[in-house]
Each structure stands twice: as structure tokens, then as C-alpha cells.
């Protein structure tokens, strides 16, 4: 008799159970074994085992001598302090030597991990796995004083520093359709991961890690490989950003978690020379410092740690105080980017808080590995703690001025309408880039490569930065939203001052630069300038009308929310290729550049074409991505639906592509490089002051009052000894107290 091992059940319930069981098993097989390879095939992401040459096992002797070396300064200082009363110099020397070699004295150091490693026998740093041995969980203290225990790895994996995106609500950004990003709608992943940006000229997938062949003059024709890409500043160490986290399901693969660079934030001896691009069997990725030395000096993050990366957006790569920029890599040195993103370094020379030793985390008070960036923001950057405030008044209160009895009251009065930064960031550094032309690169002999051309750099008010009403919200394309508290419709920056350049000094500088850099004659230069000095001239009249309609219908009510104050904003515009199939009244989808092609050949069209052949860009133009996120993304952008016409046709030719300036300047918040001396009254309250009261929406009568204050003369004592900095056709007067 034949034995039946399997019998299809006859009853309905039986069949149902069987079907569910099969689905369960197939689903399990899919998620466990098939999803990852399918996902990698579809998106082009790569994963593999991550190893680092700097992770070397030390012998006990090496460990001991290293620990002595690392604590030397600390021990010396303490020994000097303890023996300071010893008058005889030789006795003191002997005493100090004894003290410094006493075991307990060696152990009492700020680098307490040396002792932990010694006791636990840890002689090799292997990345997160070493840290997690002890720090599997951490206790997170929240703003209200409560605490929770979280898994450390999950905490960091779900932080913006790892993901560069946020799928939940919590953006201070409003789409041009009037909808707050991810609020009361199907949320989509948004953040640095999918935001093409004109400052780096690329975005994180197409420009993660690249090796560029350069021919610097100093090497007389020899080639120097240089490292470039967004990955250098991000804590993930694998071959691309955390793409898996963008998808409806799927998680970061285990191998990617191995790449997390704990030490760049926690080590006090992290060697930035270990940050360079390496090539292995799988592809290109960024190297890390995984030396035992770096691990032995682990502490809570200090300013040095934050500034390894963040000085890049504050002072810029070429700022002399940028520590990372002096340690470009033992191999394939990193490319430095001229033209600072903001031109406001956080350094003792430039910022009063840095000079006072204030730590980044004193204001940006973290909760575990989630770090707040404040409740305000114009740029589309994801925020781990969107409701946690980071603000001057948290320490300085609403009555920050304390010196002169008459003056302090009036100055404090300004706090309701004028942000602290407006007076206390009177200027930026001169290399603050305002206009960047990516389409017409120039060959830099010293660097031996083609670089973008910055046609306007300035740290002066009205040129490098300007003043806007701001209620903490921004548009999808980094425009400050707000309105004069008189709620008039006279203030309309998206049709006016965010779309044009009228400052004569700026116009002259652009013209000079354009003529010199591009060898243009007067006529050509003027034609070139038209688009950038009047960005709306790039739109058809129909588009301009639509733009006005969108602003009135969708943005005015948002600008009128809350209490606006006048804030300074860095201005920025870029000339880039755009996909004109996806154009709206506020701009079109900008297209990224492939860095090697760009820097090596200067052929910008080819560089763009190479970049958009990247699988993930191709997928953006296909059905699932269109439905999953691009349609929503473009709605915020002011474009009804995402056109999935891929910019390269079947024959390999480009289509619907034009170079353009963005239709309005981006406005980026300025919060660092705070000066102790603020602007003096007359800097604004004079007929030729740096605030354009008319453009700020004041009535003619009020402007007359504000520019001819009869009380001003009583404040003259303070402007008598002023340091007048001629940085502008309009002059800034710094008050000297």
C-alpha cells in the first residue's frame, strides 16, 4: 500500500490554513534570502564585508607604551600641580617622575577607557562590535527628565547622522502646494539622502565615494588620485548611503552596520588622515581610523569631533581653522572645496561661544544619539528631535543685554522682532559663495582638475547674505517664510528680493568675474547676467502667473503663522542642468554630476549623463518609485506629478535638458560665528541702513520713522567710538562697548 505523506485537506478551513502556511513560508524565504539580492540588483546598491587596515592588534607592551604616551600631557600637568610647592628643582623633577609612573596615577585620567581596555584585555579595535561589548544598551535622558533604555545600535541606526532622512512628520518645511512635509499625508522619506543640491553639485547616491585622477602642477605631469564624495562626512562606512531605509520595508544589512564609525564622534585622537576613498572587490568606500590609539581616547563628543565634519558647512574647507582640512589623507588626499557653504566658522577666532569654550552639545543637548538642530529650519534636512529647541534665549533669556541702563532696555525690546543673529552676525567671511556655475567649470592648474566656477563670493550684507522675516518655516526649496507683523502684502520675497540682485557692488563683481573667468565681452556678460540677476526671467509669463497664484493661495497663510522676526540668511544660487520635463513655477529637478568625469574632463554634459545612468536615478524615472515617492516629492516642489520621461532616450541622446539658475535664491540660516559686538543702532536706523525697510514690508510712514529716529541721538555715546567696517556700499557700524 502506498503511504500518503501529504494529503490536501478537504475542509474549507483546512485549505485556508494550508494556503496561509504556504504564504508564510514563501514570505519567510523571500525576506530572508531573496529580498536583499533582488533589492541590490534593482537599485544598484552594493554590500560586502567591511575591513579596515588600521584595525591592528597591539601587544601588551605596545598597549602600555601607547597608554603612557596618550596620558603623558595629562599626567605631567597633574604632577606639576601636585609638586608646585617643592622649591628644589631636582627634588621636584624626581617627585614628578615617581608620581607620573605610579599605577593609580596613570589610571586616573580623562581617558578612562584605557583602564577598561586594559582590564578587559581588549587590544584591537574592531568597530561597533568592540563598543557594543559593553554598550549594548544605553540610558537616554529626555528633556522632561524621564529616562528610557534603548539598544545602542538601533539608536544610532535610526539617527539622522546614519540615515540622512526622516519618514515621519517633523519638518519645518512646507511644499509649494501649502502642505507641511509628511504632515497629515502619506509620509515619504525626505532628507539629505534624496535631496539634490546645488552646493555640492550632486547628491549622495551619485557622489558617495569617488577617486579622481588629478594632475597638479607641482607633480609635473604625474597623476595624483584624490578622494571625493559625500560619504566622507557621514558615519556609515559602506558603499552608499542607507538606501534600504528609504524603502517601505527592508532593513540595513548587517555588513553595513559594521561600517559605522563610532570613533569619529567619540575619539579625541581620531586621525582624519585615515579618511580617504579605498577600492576593494565590491567597490569604492571611505576608510576609517580604527586604530587602538583612537579607541583608547574615547570620551563624550567634543567640539573637535563635531567640527571634523561640520566646520565644512560653517567655515568651509579652505578656512584655516578647519582641522580636518589640514589632514587630507595618507593616501588619495581628499579634494578641498573652495567657496564656503556659509562662511561662518565655529572657532574661537570667529565665534564668541567657541572662544568661551562652550561645547556644541551644551546647546544641541542630545538624547542618546539623537541630536537636536532646533525647531526652525529652511533647508530640507531631517531632524532627529524636531520639537526640541536649540535657541539663544534658552541661555540668554529674553533680556540678554545687561550693560548700559538706557540702552539695554531698548536693545532687549528689539528681541521680539529682531533675531539675535541679525545684529550679532554682522558679516560673514569673504569666501562665502553666493553664485556657483557648475555648467562652465574652470581648469585649476594648482589642483590639476576642472572645478566649478564661483562667480560671486561675499561676506557682506545685501550681497552674501540678506535679511528676511522668518517664523521658523521654509519652502521646499530653502526659502525663509514669514511676514512683517503688520501682515501686509507688501512683503513678498519669493517674487522680489529672493529672485533678483540689485546691489550695484554685487552686479559689478559678477560682471568682472564673468568676463575674466569665461572670457566674455560686455555684451555676452550682460546676457549671461540677466538670468541670474533676475531669476524669474527664466520663466514664461504663464509660469510667473502660476507662481504668483501658488504663493498667494498656498504660502501666504503659512508666512503669516506665528510671530516672525527679522533673521539673516545666507543667499545661494547654482547654475546646473535641469530636467525640464519636471519643471514648475519654482524650479525644475536639478540633475547631478558624476565627479570623476566632471573634475577630470570638465565635460559637464557628459558628467551629468554619466551620473543619471546610475541605477537609482533610472529607478526614479520608473513606475514603482514614481508612485512610492516621486509624485509626492514633486507636489511639494510645485510640480503636479512626476514626469517619468527619462532624460536619456533609447538612442542614448539627452532630452529635455537645459542649464538654469534656480528660480529663486536659497536662503540658509546663519546661527554661528556670533560676534560679541553687535551692529550699532545707526547700521539699520539711518536712511542708507543695511535693512531695506521697504522690501521688508513697512509702510512709507513707518519707514520714515524708522530711518529718522529722533531718539537716536541719545544712543550716540555708543556709536562715537565705532569701528566702521567698509564692507559694503552701505556701511556696517559695529557698536563698541
Amino acid at each position: 500500500m502506498k503511504i500518503k505523506y501529504f494529503k490536501i485537506p478537504k475542509t474549507k478551513t483546512g485549505k485556508l490554513i494550508l494556503i496561509l502556511f504556504v504564504i508564510f513560508v514563501l514570505g519567510g524565504i523571500f525576506t530572508q534570502f531573496l529580498y536583499e539580492p533582488l533589492f541590490e540588483w534593482y537599485t544598484g546598491v552594493k554590500n560586502g564585508k567591511l575591513t579596515y587596515d588600521s584595525s591592528i592588534k597591539l601587544t601588551d607592551e605596545e598597549f602600555n607604551s601607547l597608554s603612557k604616551e596618550l596620558t603623558y600631557q595629562d599626567r605631567l600637568q597633574r604632577a606639576e600641580e601636585m609638586t608646585k610647592n617643592e622649591k628644589d628643582p631636582f627634588t621636584r623633577k624626581v617627585k614628578m617622575e615617581m608620581l607620573m609612573n605610579t599605577p593609580s596615577f596613570i589610571h586616573q585620567t580623562k581617558f578612562n577607557h584605557i583602564k577598561y581596555f586594559r582590564d578587559a584585555g581588549i587590544r584591537q579595535y574592531k568597530g561597533p562590535e568592540t563598543c557594543l561589548k559593553c554598550h549594548e544598551d544605553i540610558t537616554v535622558r529626555h528633556a522632561d527628565g524621564s529616562t528610557t533604555k534603548v539598544n545602542t545600535l538601533d539608536d544610532i541606526i535610526n539617527s539622522v547622522h546614519f540615515q540622512f532622512q526622516r519618514r515621519a512628520a517633523g519638518f519645518s518645511t512646507y511644499g509649494f502646494d501649502g502642505k507641511q512635509v509628511n504632515e497629515n499625508t502619506r509620509p515619504i522619506p525626505v532628507g539629505k539622502i534624496d535631496r539634490a543640491c546645488g552646493i555640492p553639485g550632486s547628491f549622495s547616491w551619485t557622489g558617495w565615494a569617488d577617486l579622481i585622477k588629478t594632475k597638479p602642477d607641482s607633480l609635473h605631469g604625474k597623476t595624483l588620485l584624490r578622494s571625493e564624495g559625500c560619504g566622507q562626512c557621514h558615519i556609515g562606512g559602506n558603499y552608499q548611503p542607507a538606501t534600504e531605509d528609504m524603502m517601505p520595508f527592508g532593513n540595513v544589512p548587517e555588513s553595513a552596520k559594521e561600517g559605522i564609525d563610532c570613533l569619529i564622534c567619540h575619539s579625541q585622537t581620531y586621525d582624519m588622515n585615515e579618511k580617504y576613498v579605498i577600492k576593494d572587490n565590491v567597490g569604492l568606500r571611505w576608510n576609517e581610523d580604527r586604530s587602538m590609539k583612537a579607541a583608547m581616547t574615547v570620551t563624550k563628543p567634543t567640539n573637535t569631533n563635531c567640527l571634523y565634519c561640520h566646520q565644512h558647512n560653517f567655515g568651509g574647507d579652505t578656512y584655516s581653522g578647519n582641522v580636518a582640512a589640514h589632514n587630507l589623507g595618507y593616501k588619495n588626499p581628499r579634494i578641498l572645496h573652495a567657496g564656503a557653504k556659509r562662511g561662518m566658522p565655529f572657532s574661537p577666532e570667529e565665534d564668541v561661544h567657541a572662544a568661551a569654550g562652550v561645547q556644541c552639545l551644551d546647546c544641541h543637548v542630545p538624547e542618546g544619539h539623537k541630536i537636536p538642530r532646533g525647531t526652525k529650519g529652511t533647508d530640507l534636512v531631517a531632524n532627529d528631535l524636531p520639537n526640541k529647541s536649540v535657541a539663544c534665549e534658552n541661555c540668554h533669556t529674553s533680556a540678554p543685554h545687561t550693560k548700559n541702563e538706557l540702552e539695554r532696555v531698548i536693545l532687549n525690546g528689539h528681541v521680539a522682532r529682531v533675531a539675535c543673529e541679525t545684529c550679532h552676525i554682522p558679516y560673514l567671511r569673504d569666501d562665502n559663495v553666493v553664485l556657483r556655475d557648475w555648467v562652465h567649470p574652470t581648469y585649476n592648474k594648482e589642483e590639476g582638475m576642472y572645478v566649478y566656477t564661483d562667480i560671486l563670493k561675499s561676506g557682506k550684507p545685501d550681497i552674501g547674505f540678506n535679511y528676511f522675516w522668518y517664523n521658523g518655516n521654509g519652502t521646499f526649496l530653502a526659502g525663509a517664510l514669514g511676514n512683517n507683523p503688520n501682515k501686509s502684502d507688501r512683503y513678498d520675497p519669493l517674487m522680489d528680493q529672493m529672485t533678483n540682485i540689485t546691489n550695484p557692488e554685487a552686479l559689478l563683481e559678477i560682471k568682472t568675474n564673468v568676463k575674466n573667468d569665461f572670457n566674455m565681452n560686455d555684451e555676452q556678460a550682460l546676457k549671461y547676467m540677466q538670468a541670474v540677476t533676475n531669476t524669474l526671467s527664466q520663466l514664461s509669463s504663464g509660469m510667473v502667473a502660476e507662481r504668483e497664484k501658488d504663493i498667494t493661495e498656498h504660502l501666504t497663510s503659512i508666512s503669516n503663522l506665528g510671530d516672525s522676526k527679522i533673521y539673516p540668511f545666507k543667499l545661494f544660487n547654482a547654475y546646473m542642468y535641469e530636467d525640464m520635463s519636471n519643471q514648475g513655477p519654482f524650479g525644475a529637478m536639478i540633475l547631478p554630476f558624476d565627479y570623476p568625469t566632471y573634475y577630470e574632463t570638465g565635460n559637464t554634459l557628459e558628467a551629468m549623463k554619466t551620473a543619471i545612468k546610475n541605477p537609482i536615478i533610472k529607478r526614479m524615472y520608473q513606475y514603482p518609485f514614481k508612485k512610492y515617492m516621486m509624485d509626492d516629492f514633486m507636489r511639494y516642489f510645485g510640480v503636479k506629478t512626476w514626469s517619468d520621461v527619462y532624460p536619456i532616450d533609447n538612442k542614448g541622446n539627452l532630452r529635455n535638458i537645459q542649464p538654469h539658475w534656480m528660480r529663486q535664491f536659497g536662503t540658509l540660516m546663519l546661527n554661528h560665528s556670533i560676534k560679541k559686538e553687535g551692529l550699532a543702532c545707526a547700521s539699520c536706523h539711518s536712511p542708507n541702513g543695511i535693512l531695506d525697510f521697504k522690501k521688508l514690508g513697512y509702510s512709507a510712514e513707518r519707514i520714515k520713522d524708522l530711518t529718522h529716529l529722533k531718539e537716536l541721538k541719545y544712543f550716540k555715546t555708543n556709536t562715537k567710538e565705532v569701528k566702521v567696517t567698509k564692507v559694503n556700499s552701505k556701511k556696517i557700524i559695529l557698536s563698541k562697548r
Binding site: V409, N412, G413, V415, A416
Partner: protein
């Protein structure tokens, strides 16, 4: 001729003085001069001795919605404030509500005199003396008579409690003022069930003042004399009817008639129905229901028994 012109000039100048530009500026126009600075919401300074931020702001919106909206600033403040910078001697300017409010017949109904005597017996005055003034609780620039006109008791509670909480919700302020580190309000009131509900529904002064005042009591009692017995509020003769609900009851009586007001009163808050006939009525209804139920039960039992017998 010259002489004539001179005389004419003199006449004109003189007449301008005697008949000044006939249109006197309105209070609002006059105040505008002060509001040029004082409308700045953050106008103020950190007081050197206490470290507390002293606000010098008067928000025009609040002022023109306050009871004092018709006044010119210099009706209360010295005329010397019209010069800028303000003369230093004005720092000691000492204003007192009763300078205006004492003898004027139209203010009689507000009982300012009894408020003054209550205040003098209150714990604030006893402990702090002249350092404590009316203005520490009542900002004359936004003062709006509240309990008397507000129909919504909860709003009255919110407005009034805010006055107390300005100082009392902050242990460091209290320490600066009294020299004592006192427990937080939630701790000192932890005996009270449903603290948050009480905060929202009862004014601090309802328990912390002596209730026998003609208006809103200003006799703030020391803490050991405050009401701590639930029944004093949650009863037929709730003291809240003398204070918090006084004006509401009166208003409703005027509006809806005595009977309606008594029946429709928000009686749950106080905890007991205060109408004898309603009580009686509910007892009667309860009795009838009880009787009906027992009759029904007996009948069911009887018929069931009958059915069994038949079988």
C-alpha cells in the same frame, strides 16, 4: 509798517497760545508717542538685585482691550515721562491704585476700600510690607475685570490662577522673594485628589482667602488657614457659591429667571443638588421604581410557580 507787522505777529502768536489748535489729540494719539518704544513686547531688563526680568512692555492690543483703555498714559504716570531719556528721578515714581479708585462714586460697587483693608491683612502684605503692591498681581495695562463679566467659569479660573502662578509656580522666584525654598505646588497640594482638575476648575483664592468679602476677596490667608476640608466646597452650602460662582449665579438668575437658574446650575462641580424639591422628587421616583420592580418580580415568581404546578 514794521511795527504793525510786529504787532500782527505778536497777536497771531498770542492767539495761538490762547486758542491752541482746537483739536486736542485723542488719548490714543497721545499714547502713540509712548508706544513707539513701549509696544516692543520684550522691552525690559534683568533686575540687578533679584535677577528677575522686569518688563516695561505695554502691548497696545491688551491695553486697548483693558478696563483702562480710555486713559492717557500720563493720567497715571508723571507728565515728565514725555521727555526722553526719561529723567532719573522718575525711577522712584510710586503709583497706587487707590489714588484714583478711592473716592470716585462710580467705583463704589467694586469696594476698593474693603479691598485695601483686606490686602493690608493679607499674608503678602504682612510678610513683605510695602514691597508688595497691587501691581505685583494686577498689571494695570492689561487689567480686565474678569469674574464679574466672564460667563465661562473655567476662563475666569485660568485668568486668575495665572496671576498667582506667575510667582508661585517657580520655586526659584519664591526663594528670591521669601528666602525660603518651598516645595513645588504639586507636592504641597498632593493631598488633593485630582489635582489637575482642581487647578482647572477652582481658583487658588477660593481656598486661600477669607470668603466673607463684598467683592473678590483680597485677604490671602496663611497656608494653615486655607480650606482643606472637601465638604466646605462639595456640599449644599458650598463656599464656592459665595466666591467663584457668585457672579455666574447672579448673571444666570438675571438672564434665565430664578427657578431656571437654580435648576440648570452647574451643580455637579459643587457636588450636591441644592434644590430641596428636586431632591424630594428624585426620592419619590426612586421609591416608585423600587415598588414597580418588586411587584413585577413577585408576579413573575407567582406565574412561574403556577406553570410548574400545571406540569
Amino acid at each position: 509798517m514794521k511795527k504793525f507787522i510786529f504787532t500782527l505777529n505778536a497777536v497771531i502768536i498770542l492767539s495761538l497760545h490762547i486758542f491752541p489748535n482746537s483739536k486736542k489729540p485723542s488719548a490714543e494719539e497721545f499714547n502713540q508717542q509712548c508706544f513707539r518704544c513701549h509696544s516692543m513686547a520684550t522691552l525690559g531688563y534683568k533686575d540687578e538685585s533679584s535677577g528677575i526680568i522686569k518688563s516695561l512692555a505695554v502691548l497696545p492690543h491688551d491695553f486697548y482691550n483693558s478696563n483702562h483703555k480710555e486713559l492717557e498714559c500720563i493720567d497715571c504716570h508723571s507728565r515728565d515721562f514725555t521727555t526722553f531719556p526719561h529723567p532719573a528721578k522718575l525711577k522712584t515714581e510710586n503709583l497706587y491704585c487707590l489714588y484714583c479708585h478711592k473716592d470716585e462714586p462710580k467705583f463704589q460697587k467694586y469696594h476698593f476700600q474693603s479691598i485695601e483693608s483686606e490686602f493690608k491683612q493679607s499674608v503678602h502684605y504682612k510678610k513683605m510690607g510695602d514691597k508688595f503692591t497691587c501691581f505685583d498681581c494686577h498689571d494695570p495695562h492689561s487689567f480686565k475685570i474678569n469674574a464679574r463679566v466672564n460667563r465661562d467659569v473655567k476662563e475666569t479660573v485660568l485668568y486668575d490662577n495665572h496671576i498667582c502662578l506667575k510667582c508661585h509656580d517657580n520655586t526659584s522666584t519664591i526663594k528670591d522673594l521669601s528666602g525660603q525654598l518651598l516645595p513645588t505646588l504639586n507636592v504641597s497640594h498632593s493631598w488633593l485628589p485630582h489635582i489637575d482638575l482642581h487647578w482647572k476648575s477652582v481658583r487658588c483664592i477660593d481656598c486661600h482667602t477669607s470668603p466673607n468679602a463684598p467683592g473678590v476677596s483680597h485677604l490671602i490667608l496663611p497656608k494653615d488657614q486655607a480650606v482643606k476640608n472637601c465638604v466646605e466646597c462639595h456640599s449644599k452650602n458650598s463656599i464656592l457659591l459665595q466666591s467663584l460662582y457668585k457672579f455666574q449665579t447672579k448673571q444666570e438668575r438675571d438672564r434665565e429667571g430664578f427657578i431656571n437658574a437654580v435648576i440648570l446650575n452647574n451643580s455637579y462641580v459643587i457636588g450636591a443638588t441644592r434644590n430641596y424639591y428636586l431632591n424630594l422628587l428624585s426620592f419619590i421616583i426612586f421609591g416608585i421604581v423600587l415598588v414597580a420592580l418588586s411587584v413585577h418580580g413577585i408576579l413573575r415568581w407567582k406565574s412561574h410557580k403556577g406553570n410548574l404546578d400545571e406540569k
